[in-house]
Amino acid sequence: MVLDTPAGALLLKAALGPPRCENENAGDALDEAIGRWVLKHRRPLLLCPDEETPASLVASVRGAIVAPFVSVPIVFAGEMLGVMNLAREENGNPFDHAHLQLASIAGLQVGAFLHLSRLDDRLAERERFITRILESIPSSLLVVDARLRVVSANRNFLDKTRRTKKATEGRKLADILSPALIEQTRMVDKVKEAFSTGRTIEGGKVAYRAPNLPTHVYFYRLIPIPAGDDVQEIMLLMDDVTEQEKVGADAKRAERHLASVVECANDFVISLDREGRLVSWNPAAERVSGWSFDKLQGKTLAELCTAEDRDAMVHMIQRLAAGSGVQGRRVRLVTSNGRELTIAWSCSPMCDDQGTVVGMVAVGRDLTEQLQLEQQLIQSDKMASLGVMAGGIAHELRNPLALIAVSAQLLLEKQDDPEFRESCLERINASTKRASLIIENLLKFARPQADKVGQISVCDLLDDTFLLLSDQLVLQKVRLRRKRCAGGVTVPGNPDLLQQVFANLVLNACNAMPRGGDLRVSTSVGEDRKVRISFQDSGEGIPPDNLPRLFDPFFTTKPPGGSFVGLGLSISYSIIKQHFGSIEVQSRVGKGSTFTVSLPQSRGVHEA
């Protein structure tokens, strides 16, 4: 019987000879009871008629002992491994002490044998364990000895290379891996190096293609297996990185694709770090701005802006750094040869996985050409307005001219009355001034817009506009009713452009009242600090169908060939948009229309 140590149970391992009694279970129970006694007392037991039966066994052996019996412990190095029982037939000779001694010696020998067999079991279990580990490693593994022979190959390697263990272990490494691969990786040198230095060598990537299989890419390493101070074997560990390589290649392809988009774009596509310093600068940026990227190392985008717009750019970068995007913001840059470019910027912050802003991307479109076209359009609209105004201006100029002519002619007739003569001269003088004022206004209006921006007094600008248009109003029998805003208000903007909008709206109103009428112009400031200038006519009104198209370029209800080309409202709209304002229209057919321009009021204390 062998002692099963963890359970503490005695297991019958081997039995020889005939059964001792009819009741086998009773016999086993007796054997176990005696065995336990022997184990507990760590000494052999001899049961015979003249020997005293130990008290603790009396109960279990009573009546059962019908034969001579010897029980000895199986011991190795003091460790109880089990019990050996010997029994004789019922009426056989009883055992004596000599038998007991002999049995004890046999117990020792069995103990030694048992110990050895246990060690062997344990060793085998270890080996199986190590093999299991090696087999379950998801990497290919070869163990190579100093003669470059394969000592061991794991399942992963064999599967990947479609080889058998037999055809692999014991063969030369060069026969297992292709000679070309050995050559390419300088494997032999590296293995030798690992042997001599005892250090792991990170080999790098190799492509390996087993017959009938797609090529796999491996990352290999040579790991020395030390045995004492020596290295007997080298482990060649190969990780299959085919998938990662593929992902990497896809990523590279996507990257190249994106890069070519950036390269080919006609817009500025640039990236900045959190502080707005330039990180990348595409060819379009280089072409349009004239700045090559190597000249811009360490510079911020704000440094490339015009002095006036630098703050706007800094503000924009701050917004981006705070995580907000920017759409279509116009900020001017200075080119390498000092020219100004108006660029519309759309930017977004770049965030890492935690959502922290790590940089920003800015896409900028050069609006210079577009603005030039826009200016041409504005200019042609102005010319169209001038055409309409020509009649009024002729009328307006001819009045002072008539007065000058009459006064001069009266003087030529040699008037006696000195007071009358003076009066004539005064009228000549005043009329000349008036005529030149009209011309000045006309020139001011006709001149292409200057790039001037300032704080504009709305009332003064309206005064100028009506001075220019007063005769037009008279001609068209339009009565002007003005309601000024108390205190006067200012808006930031370009006075030339805003005057053009006002002139367009007045001319439109006149046009809507072919038989004359009232034009009410009022200025007010809302609680939202918006200045509202409304132009209310008592004209024909606009049919609801036409309202949505009102601000479309070239939309006109006038017959072709007239002075109106239908640009006025669309241009007015774009001008007001540029001033961050809006134009709204309300209209009732037969009652008239009201156009309301809203503009943000000037900030600060510089209001006039």
Partner: protein
């Protein structure tokens, strides 16, 4: 008795000029700035000649001329304008319809005015004779 002339122009300077020229030529001159004033004046007054600006704040000069044409004692109307040319269809139409007897473009010469006022007085006289007979 001096012949009476009406000058209608919303431009005070022009009224002053015509008033001076005509007064010095021996006419009695009344000035008005608007159509409304003219209507008021014509209620109890007749004029031989009326110089009317083509564009008045409240009425078109030609329209005022056609209003005057309905009067029994209608003045001979001379249209003055800085807006029209003599060849303009509106002017020619007015002449053909007999609404106006002449046209003076601004700026004008004193001679033109003196000439025109004479023609106007003649036309007015002839009309009066025609009515009587």
């Amino acid at each position: 008795m001096k012949p009476e002339v009406l000058v209608v122009d919303d431009e005070p300077g022009v009224c002053w000029a015509l008033e001076n020229v005509l007064t010095r030529s021996g006419f009695e001159v009344t000035t008005a700035y608007t159509g409304e004033e003219v209507v008021f004046l014509l209620e109890d007054h007749t004029y031989e000649v009326a110089f009317v600006d083509a564009k008045l704040p409240d009425i078109d000069g030609m329209q005022l001329a056609s209003e005057m044409a309905r009067l029994d004692a209608r003045p001979a109307v001379v249209l003055i304008s800085g807006y029209y040319y003599g060849e303009d269809r509106a002017v020619q139409g007015g002449l053909e319809a007999g609404l106006i007897i002449g046209f003076i473009a601004k700026p004008f010469s004193l001679e033109e005015v003196r000439e025109m006022v004479k023609v106007g007085v003649d036309v007015s006289q002839q009309r009066k004779v025609a009515i009587r007979t």
